[in-house]
């Protein structure tokens, strides 16, 4: 049986969309677009306080994007929390898995710190470091730690809002001091970016781990802890 929508219209539409995408991609790659944004951005990297071009775009030239990105993460977590409490979690892990997790989690936290620091001049940065922290939380949750190593709810709320809070406060402070919103003065840029990235890393890690729990954390975080 041939259903016209599924077997004719959708494939034809997909071929059309594919052709359009392919054509515009070909034009974008081969066409001479004049002055590209890349050369402007790469030329200004030495002024940005960090030497990694991607970090300088994320945290300096387009810091608005990154701030709103953190807001997206936060609002997704608030949406998840509004659906109710988290489930009862996993069984406590057997001793071998638990020992492995106990070894891996500190390593993940250490690598997160390294990622955060290296982001200034090589690939890395707040999001990669936050993802590693989130992975540590997911690992703990899978091994039966009920709250994935996260603190109690009132502190967790402060922690997940930290990134947006520090980012916005830095911007507002710079505005009060006479610069634009998130326009860093050249000498301070490096340290401001490091402060923002540290806060963002903690917030991203906590948000990802909390989102994995799938609901508001339990009131008694000690349940399921082995220590």
């Amino acid at each position: 049986m041939i259903r016209p929508l599924e077997h004719i219209l959708i494939p034809l539409g997909l071929i059309a969309v594919g052709g359009l995408l392919g054509w515009s991609f070909f034009l974008a790659v081969t066409g001479e677009a004049g002055d590209r944004l890349a050369s402007v951005a790469l030329a200004r990297v030495p002024d940005s306080g960090v030497s990694n071009p991607v970090t300088s775009v994320l945290l300096n030239f387009r810091a608005y994007d990154t701030l709103l990105e953190l807001a997206v993460l936060l609002s997704a977590l608030l949406g998840i929390w509004s659906l109710g409490a988290a489930g009862s979690g996993f069984q406590p892990a057997a001793s071998i898995l638990d020992g492995m997790v106990a070894g891996f989690v500190p390593l993940l936290i250490l690598s997160a710190g390294y990622m955060l620091w290296v982001g200034a001049y090589a690939p890395g940065g707040a999001f990669q470091a936050g993802a590693l922290l989130g992975a540590a939380g997911v690992m703990l949750a899978l091994a039966g730690h009920r709250n994935a190593g996260l603190p109690c709810e009132s502190r967790l709320r402060l922690l997940v809002a930290l990134g947006v809070f520090v980012f916005t406060m830095t911007g507002l402070l710079l505005m009060v001091l006479g610069n634009g919103f998130l326009t860093y003065p050249p000498g301070l840029a490096k340290w401001l970016i490091l402060i923002i990235e540290t806060a963002a890393t903690l917030a991203i890690g906590a948000t990802l781990a909390a989102a994995y729990l799938g609901g508001r954390p339990a009131a008694h975080p000690t349940t399921g802890e082995t220590a």
Binding site: A38, L73, I80, A211
Partner: protein
């Protein structure tokens, strides 16, 4: 622009476009929420691949940092949207058959 650079870009960009189309097809045709969610993520991966292909400037020049920053932004938004949708789906399942 050398031919080799162009081929590499078209290979990566073409794979990205194919991923976008596969995801779009799966999103339109399959009803279950989980399949739609995976389809959206496959589409997202295709978009990231296209952006990375556009950013490529050959082996000895620095890549365009702006599409790379956009990909990082996109990954975060995709993760947030997926987590929120999974939580919605779980809640819908709970409400559909209360224990």
């Amino acid at each position: 622009m050398t031919d080799q650079l162009l081929y590499a870009q078209l290979l990566y960009g073409g794979s990205g476009i194919i991923l976008v189309l596969l995801g779009l097809w799966s999103f339109l045709v399959h009803a279950p929420l989980l399949r739609k969610l995976i389809a959206i993520n496959v589409m997202g991966a295709g978009v990231f691949l296209i952006l990375v292909a556009i950013a490529y400037r050959g082996i000895d020049t620095a890549p365009d940092p702006i599409p790379h920053a956009l990909v990082l932004t996109g990954i975060v938004v995709a993760v947030s949207a997926t987590a929120l949708a999974l939580a919605f789906g779980k809640r819908l399942d709970q409400d559909a058959d209360p224990e």
